[in-house]
Symmetry: D4
Subunit: 175 residues, 8 copies
């Protein structure tokens, strides 16, 4: 069993449908991760222990998602020297602006690497990018990943030009 | 020496010009208080200890001010059964909207009694109101306080009607 | 019959689905409450009488919810020495930002303890916290309540770690 | 002495530099007015009496300015059948957005005719427009007023075209 | 046939479901009105003619609703001495904030009496309030109207207190 | 086959349902166009080549739509002397405010002609307006187009006045 | 004397310090322009005449700046087939958000090419870009202009690398 | 000479007073860095070359600051596998909200680690945290750094408690 490198935590299990995207991308890159719930407000002591123990357990990057008054990423960042990546989860009453501001507006000394609202997939990718700094193989995988992003677009370009935009649009899945 | 009933804490000494208003109003009501700095992000362990010890020390209400990603009030509320009153301090880059949203949008289970941006005077008053629930004398002082608010306005009304608004306006201090 | 300690009022019966959460949490704590409609704009005289009579009736805390130009909490606070807890109810056209700003931005002298948008459950809890200042039994109940919050999270943590996040997510109720 | 037709009220004397513009424009139109302070939050009883007595005193239109949680215009509108014109006064911490939303987002049944932030001059003009509905002379004065607005612009157009924009700009007062 | 006193105009027929509320309340007060479409952007010449002719046709108040870059109320106000009441219609992409700002932020000299987003019913009521300034009968109708608002609330209060909030809530129509 | 004059590009095929409106209006004006996908973030090299080659291929105007951190219109504008029209596509988490600000707030030297959120039809029309500067025939078509806009409104006016607003409203398609 | 190709208009002479930047850039490109004041709200008839006559006078592009409820660009766009470039001028109470939304959120059929808040220099450049569509010389000037933008940056890069950032920063003009 | 590990780039030299904070913190940690200007909009080709060459030059982390339509961080992230840290620089007309949204709202596949508005010091720290993942010495320095943050606060706590808040406040530097 591989040693866990990235710890994905979230404030509530209701954040899981968003945050599981971080896990999925780490799997694509074959990076070992764990997924758990750490509530800053309902389990503050667990949060302190978790954050303080992470580096000692060999964790290298923490991805933390939370919504509303989203204190988890910033508090964890205050309790570890590990880089913390924050994901503002879209909230019901403020569409995630509250989550975004609570996570990104950290004071000097305690940074959180903030992603887009609901940007958990990018959080996973940013974790990979951090790990790839000293991991040539991972760096090459990122290179391939980015080339595949381009290829995917180019195949859509081809299809669009072949079919014409009207037919292409008809073939798109309805929201 | 009177036992401290209200603890006024703030995330940074730069919040003091705002937060000292809470202390001043408590003095007006002759309520014993303390003023100190507790940074959620720079002294998280002090914060945990402080919050967990407060009730045991006899503190009855906590007033907490913070700006930006203002996690202090919510985190303290997560660590004590005491009521926490939060003051969003006006931030340099977002005018305090970040502070307000970070403090007010708490999840179910962990409330923070949020005041207006820079509303430290009202935080002190809200603490008095809470203490006055079981303190008849304090309740009467509040009654007098509110009557004085009205009197102050009425004396301005009188002056304004006597002088006329133009003269009154000329006599006002320039901002 | 127990004496009413908390009065839950709202500007319109359309606020009831939100505001009833405050009542439910008070029931969990066995605190006597009343629920009624007091419209600042449609029944201003009833509001004045209600607010002025509340303390005399033995009410100790008022929880007031309103949406849009949400004047009820602030106006009641202007008419009583009791602490008033305000709940901004999510509005149809501004998602509750109008309600939040109307409730929280009170001028010096007249505080309202503002909760999150739709945060009625927390309003009830804040009322309990205020009453618990001089009520040891209630204070212990709060302690238990907070421990149960943690337990609930921890049992989810256990389940998540046992099932894995994918299976856990499949078992979650669809929104 | 002419009978007062327009009552200009404001929540605090600090609103006077803004609100006096309403008085000035009423003077230009020779409409009798009064200027006073009526605080919804610090003198709620005075507010109720004032609003309920206004129509009986012969007042025909009320202009009400307030800032922050600006409840005055809406509460007065709830207490009189007279039309109420609301002026959101620019606040220190939210630039007047709080004032605007608190005044304009009134529920069905209790309208407030809301002006721009700090738009007290327009509040005076709107009062004139209301009075002019059944006052031909006032209506003609409005016609002249609007023609003068145009003339003023046209004389600036002429000057600008004669001087060229560079010279014109140099002659403008510095902010 | 009664002479038209209030002209209800809107920028697009898609505004009709909102704006028809203004017509309905005028009918309740037995005030003669007309309803038509006047697009500032698609029929600017019709708008100019319409606005300039309104006073001559005996119209006393104009109610104008528009969404997005909502120029209709302000432009009509620039072309008539009649009071113009503006209704910001909720837009698809900005929830009506664009409509609100475009209508309310008028420059000195050209006021628009702005209502809440989608506040067409209040626009009709404000028109009635303006007409009632010199119409005792209408003024008495307003008085009755406001008393009925209160009665409606009071009957709900009674029902709520009789049924208890849980049963009352169950009886409410689902959204 | 006519030479392509307008190039319609978008950051993702998910923008197509919005952006196809630009193509449709160009067809109404018989202006030759192309539709393709150019992702600033996933195919940056294609974007550079595309933007740099456009003028040489005879393209005269570029219409670029994008959502979220919408960099495509601004980056293309940085790489060509051709006028670029930007369409902020409504995003899921910020309703398109992020798209709008990312497109419109360009620094001095590199303008993007920004349309309303989802305003692709207007982007097509603005392209026609630019081409019509030196194309009398196209200019006359625009004149007819604007007259037809007015006619359409006028026929609705007629129908509304004939049917009355209630019947008209009943005949409207439900949203 | 060269024939005027670009007409720069603004709602008030107070917009001149912003809008004169459009004139300056047109001078750099040797494009003939005029600068004048056209107030949508204070001179609506002049606006209609001006907009309807512009094309006939040989004007090819209109640049229109306005602040607050900024109706000028959209109304002019409704009255001419010429492309209209809108500049939201920063307002005192809403920082130009009102101006931006009023200008950019135009309905389908009547586009305004919107620039950044206070983006008058870019408005002039966009006018040049439009004129350059059929003007090879102007197109080459644009190419040179863009190369000079790059050169300017590159010379700063060189200076910065030579001096080091600390010395470079010391040499910068204070704000 | 040490090999450059962190490249600090900014869109304009006007961002230097903000961005130099990133350099200063890297110096505190003895991490080799470079500072230069790379404008996405004025030197797009330099940007492409710079971003594509960075990894090959041995750079491990890129810190990119920009304001307004801040495309630099996202575009660089699209052109390299290195982690990019984005700093939204406060803009003149939108206080940096435009910068923040343009940087943080990146689409899936291309993350930018976003800091607070003007949060350049934290950007430098986040770079250190990334480098410390595989650098024990740097990790220990971070540990010391965080302990010093706490010490600094604690010495202020001591001073505040010794002096009392009034004297402490008097001794604070005026803003």
């Amino acid at each position: 069993m591989k040693k866990i490198q990235v710890s994905i935590i979230m404030g509530s299990d209701s954040d899981l449908p968003v945050m599981s995207e971080a896990a999925k991308v780490l799997e694509e890159f074959n990076v070992a991760y764990e997924v758990t719930i750490v509530s800053a407000h309902r389990t503050p002591e667990r949060m302190v222990e978790f954050a303080q123990a992470a580096a000692g357990r060999g964790v290298k990057v923490i991805v933390a998602g939370a919504g509303g008054a989203a204190h988890l990423p910033g508090m964890v960042a205050a309790l570890t020297t590990l880089p913390v990546i924050g994901v503002p989860v879209q909230s019901r009453t403020m569409s995630g602006l509250d989550s975004l501001y609570s996570i990104v507006q950290m004071p000097p000394g305690v940074p959180v690497a903030t992603m887009a609202i609901n940007g958990a997939r990018n959080a996973g990718l940013m974790a990979v990018k951090m790990l790839a700094i000293e991991d040539k193989k991972l760096s090459r995988s990122l290179d391939t990943f980015m080339k595949n992003l381009a290829k995917e677009v180019l195949s859509k370009v081809e299809k669009l030009e072949k079919q014409g935009f009207e037919k292409y649009q008809q073939g798109m899945p309805k929201k």
